[in-house]
Amino acid sequence: MAEVHLKLPASEEEVRRLRAGDIVYLTGLLFTARDEAHLRALEFQHEGKPMPVKFTDGALYHCGPIMKKEGEKWTIVAAGPTTSSRMNSLEPQFLEKIGARLIIGKGGMNKGVGEAMKKFGAAYLAFTGGAAVLAAQRVREVKGVHWLDLGMPEAVWVLDAVEFGPLTVGMDASGGSLFEEVAKQVERNTAEAKKRLGL
């Protein structure tokens, strides 16, 4: 288990070196994107419309922050991760057609996403769900916002972060997954739970 401090954008080589269980801190741009931003980005890509940001310039963050506008400037209030599994069906296409090297979220993603991460050289970094103030404190500036018509939680926010973490590599680019390891342990424990419950 290594502790890694990465500057964004991270290279494919740096990302492929990460192993499930490593602790990572990121410095650079984070782009928030949830369900609606994924859908629109894929739609834009399909229609050949320009993307508002180059997602490979930073990390993709499954997050719908609370933001406050003071004058013309947006400031960050709270910005923890959202449930990544909601994007399970969209992420493989996103990785293939639009691209991302690092995905930050909570709860992990399914095998299909794991396969796509292996193929395209990406890793999944888990941040503590609900730790929204901790996350916001690592953002030094809100650089901008795109697609705000989707609403505050669903818009694409461009965040400039410093030592954003601690993040745990939940899924690496070689098929390693902490979530699968936990699932195996849970399966073993389930037999015992069933016995205790008389099932």
Binding site: G64, A78, G108, G130, V133, M152, R196, L197
Partner: protein, 316 residues
């Protein structure tokens, strides 16, 4: 007397929302502290450390501890005359969305349009009960989607019996896995009709941790399910660990002899709620949080009966 003034009610709603999203009730904080002490593996310990650190930061800065400030479910006990309570709660929610601030989460269920103020048809949602103590009691539960999305309901057959309930609990917790931000609080409804059952599951989340259902059969079932399922191994944030649950609460209702409804509503580790009792003279008691001079000073569960009488919004 015309009843409790509109301004006191509206201001109390804003304050309840601010308290609920910036500080957890004492029983939940204590449970998270105990779990931190028990989690020795590096992965689960790191998650619990981040959770506790975040709680301190949120309280210190008066910032929402989680960016998902939820949709707003209110429980009102109407024990004193008052004006248009629904309109006042809506006004309070709109103000709190700007003033705290809260994330605007409420959207049209089909067009997904977000009005930006947390208001919409039946949103915020309000449960009403008659009150008997001459006071108006308002509870808010900001409910995040990560946990709510993992809720389940089943209309079992009566022959499935208690085993059916246990299997349903196991299946629901396994299916939820890492998604609802464990360690989670399980609210289970048993009996009633489909709508009553899920409503009971939600109300079960309001009970202070460590309390049991007064029916001994239900208390036994709570104890058994918690004992068997807490150690299932999902652990804090689903990265493995000793503790998956904060608690397992059951609320029940009698049901049709041909029905066997069972429902689970899940609450994340950020099990937020706040309750205020407004007296007819306008004094406001906060039952879940200690409030002095407008600042949160720590909170007490309802069980020990310690309250901060006539704090901030006291007087006429």
């Amino acid at each position: 007397m015309a009843g409790i003034s509109d301004k006191v009610i509206e201001d109390t709603v804003v304050e309840l929302l601010r308290l609920a999203v910036t500080k957890l009730p004492a029983d939940v904080e204590a449970a998270l502290g105990r779990i931190f002490d028990e989690e020795k593996a590096p992965a689960s310990q790191m998650q619990m450390k981040a959770i506790l650190e975040n709680l301190k930061l949120a309280e210190g800065t008066g910032t929402p501890l989680c960016q998902d400030t939820g949709i707003h479910v209110f429980f009102v006990k109407l024990g004193a005359p008052c004006g248009d309570i629904e309109a006042l709660i809506r006004k309070g929610v709109e103000r709190a969305t700007k003033e705290v601030p809260l994330r605007p989460n409420a959207v049209h269920p089909v067009t997904r349009k977000n009005p930006g103020n947390n208001l919409g048809v039946h949103m915020p949602y309000i449960y009403y009960e008659p009150g008997t103590d001459g006071c108006l009691e308002i509870t808010v539960m900001p409910k995040g989607a990560g946990s709510e999305n993992m809720s389940q309901m089943a209309m079992l057959t009566p022959s499935a019996g208690e085993k059916g309930i246990k299997q349903f609990a196991l299946d629901t917790i396994l299916r939820a896995g890492s998604n609802p931000c464990p360690p989670i609080l399980i609210g289970m409804g048993i009996g009633g009709s489909a709508d009553i059952c899920m409503g009971l599951a939600k109300k079960a989340l309001l009970r202070p941790l460590g309390t049991s259902n007064p029916d001994p059969d239900m208390a036994r079932l709570e104890h058994e399910l918690f004992g068997a399922l807490n150690g299932i191994g999902i652990g804090p944030m689903g990265l493995g660990g000793k503790n998956t649950l904060l608690g397992f609460h059951i609320e029940h209702a009698f049901c049709h002899t041909a029905s066997h409804p069972v429902a689970i509503n899940i609450q994340c580790w950020a099990a937020r709620k706040a309750t205020a009792r407004i007296h007819p003279d306008g004094n406001v008691e906060y039952l879940t949080h200690k409030v002095k001079g407008g600042r949160v000073e720590g909170s007490k569960g309802e069980r020990d009966g310690e309250t901060a009488k006539g704090a901030k919004k006291g007087g006429k």
